[in-house]
């Protein structure tokens, strides 16, 4: 496999891959698969439209992880991929996705990842996706992920989406349909700086009886960056839903937080909390009184907040 140091660095940041792991994996670089490997329980193939992956996890598969990272290193390249994941009944697995862009040029580079995830009856899935950009060119690094997820009855999923550094422009769209006694927790962590723009639009339809949905967002806006966070819960049955968005605003950043609760059933219980504020002065003073510089205190507070 011909991996350059820059490739390995990106893979390490987005997927914590230092060498190629055993088990099911697909690494996509500049629109082409460079490694594809299935496991006895997880089959990775090309989808019917030949424009992405079909990842099929056998029913009952336990404690396996599938890695599907994407890297873009070619200047001015814009990648688009449609991936489908089917997590079989009663399986319990982890999907590690993520995208890293290295762009030293003056042309924009980007990746649009369109994921459809079906978590079958009684299955459990953890999904982690980290987005990262680097490079010295003036060309933008653009990531626009779209995730549609369906949780069948009794399925449980936890999705963690992280974007900490280097992505200039992102529009993230997440739509979920949650069945009877199914449960979805979405955790987003975001930091923007410079003149970056980030929009996240999450919509959970809690359709099944006893279903539950949670959206937790922590974000930090620095410099002149702009963030818009929209989180909607639609309760269509006897269900529980909660949205929590916490943001730290710094410098000349702008943060807009728009929680939306729509109850279409009298038994739906939907709640939200939203807060935007700067770092409290007393937090800084407290850490400085333990010997930290002001800069280290800020970094420590932000690192903890986004952990």
């Amino acid at each position: 496999m011909n991996f350059k140091p820059v490739d390995m660095q990106l893979l390490d940041v987005i997927s914590n891959i230092k060498s190629i792991p055993a088990g099911a994996i697909n690494i996509r670089r500049d629109g082409e698969p460079v490694i594809r490997q299935s496991s006895p329980n997880i089959r990775i193939g090309t989808n019917a439209d030949n424009n992405g992956l079909l990842v099929e996890i056998k029913p009952g598969t336990r404690n396996e992880t599938v890695h599907v990272p994407v890297i873009v290193t070619k200047a001015g390249f814009h990648d688009k991929v449609y991936n489908t994941f089917v997590v079989g009944e009663d399986a319990d697995i982890t999907i590690i996705a993520g995208c890293g862009i290295h762009n030293d040029s003056h042309s924009d580079s980007g990746h649009d990842g369109i994921h459809e995830i079906i978590v079958k009856k009684g299955a459990r899935m953890k999904y982690a996706e980290k987005h990262y950009g680097e490079g010295n060119g003036q060309g933008k690094r653009i990531l626009n992920p779209t995730t549609n997820i369906i949780l069948e009855n009794g399925a449980i999923a936890e999705m963690e989406m992280v974007q900490i550094k280097g992505v200039d422009d992102t529009i993230r769209t997440t739509i979920a349909h949650i069945g009877d006694k199914a449960s979805l927790k979405i955790v987003e962590r975001l930091m923007t700086h410079g003149e970056q723009k980030a929009v996240s639009d999450v919509r959970l339809y809690i359709e099944g009886q006893g279903g539950s949905g949670q959206i937790l967002s922590r974000s930090v806006g620095r410099d002149d960056s702009v963030q818009v966070f929209k989180a909607a819960l639609v309760g269509q049955n006897e269900c529980l839903g909660h949205v929590e968005c916490d943001a730290i605003i710094m410098d000349k950043a702008r943060i807009q937080s728009i929680p939306e609760l729509i109850a279409e059933n009298a038994e739906a219980v939907l709640t939200h909390e939203a807060a935007i504020g700067k770092i409290a002065g007393e937090q800084l003073i407290k850490l400085m009184s333990l010997g930290m510089t002001e800069k280290d205190a800020i970094d420590t507070i932000l690192e903890g907040f986004l952990r």
Partner: protein, 248 residues
């Protein structure tokens, strides 16, 4: 060890009038001694503590630590020179956990040390090491973790701002015992406790009574305690209906 020389602090209130919060304070804190600062609310006790820590900048006078004039040093520099302050109302941190804060207070502390520091303040390490320092902690829990941080530091001056506030009576006894054990007769360090507690004041070496920003009384506890005992005990009785009857 720590010397305050004619220290005053003035603020401009909302009407534009100047108001002196502490006035012309002269104290020489000596090593190996335990000092109590007491007095009525609004008398300037916490302000004085924050002036020593560098959180508030005093407007007149000088502060010396081991002979060095630290008057113009900020909080970080004073902390690095060995001044520590346990906040009366510790701030909360979403995302940082208890062990993060203890490790910041005592860099290099190992797992055993971390556990011991929590056990010392009456908290079970297994329950608290990974607990978030956010709003989920009760006031008493946050206070004990705050005191554990200051006890973890090898400070030359340690200031405890009302360590008893918000902490249950059983734990107060234990915390004060720890402070006495660590600082009294320790030639390397000095502890200052801001307190109204009738069981704490008489066991300190020196008592300083601050009122309206002035030092009203200052001397050994043998001298001062008899003068203020009736007042302090009377106030305690009103607050607790005479139910505080344990001995340290």
């Amino acid at each position: 060890m720590l010397k305050l020389e004619n220290v005053s602090m003035t603020v401009n209130n909302s009407n534009g009038f100047r108001r002196e919060i502490i006035r012309d304070i002269n104290i020489n804190f000596e090593p190996g001694k335990l000092y109590a600062i007491t007095g009525p609310n609004g008398g300037g006790k916490t302000t004085l503590a924050k002036v020593i820590m560098g959180i508030y900048q005093h407007s007149a006078g000088n502060i010396y630590l081991n002979g060095e004039d630290i008057s113009q040093l900020g909080v970080t520099e004073r902390a690095r020179r060995g001044i520590a302050y346990a906040f009366q109302q510790p701030p909360r941190f979403k995302g940082l956990n208890v062990s993060d804060l203890i490790k910041i207070a005592a860099p290099g502390v190992d797992g055993m040390g971390l556990r011991k520091k929590l056990r010392d303040v009456g908290l079970c390490p297994e329950d608290y090491l990974d607990r978030d320092m956010g709003p989920g902690l009760s006031g008493g829990e946050a206070k004990r973790i705050e005191i554990a941080q200051v006890l973890s530091r090898d400070s030359v001056i340690s200031i405890f701002d009302e360590p008893e506030a918000g902490v249950d009576l059983w734990t107060v006894q234990r915390l004060i015992g720890l402070i006495v054990q660590k600082y009294q007769d320790n030639p390397e360090s000095t502890a200052i406790i801001i307190t109204h507690h009738e069981n704490v004041l008489p066991i300190c070496d020196e008592i300083i009574v601050l009122e309206e920003g002035f030092i009203k009384l200052q001397g050994s506890s043998k001298q001062i305690w008899p003068l203020i005992r009736d007042d302090v005990q009377c106030k305690m009785r009103e607050q607790c209906r005479g139910e505080v009857c344990y001995e340290l």
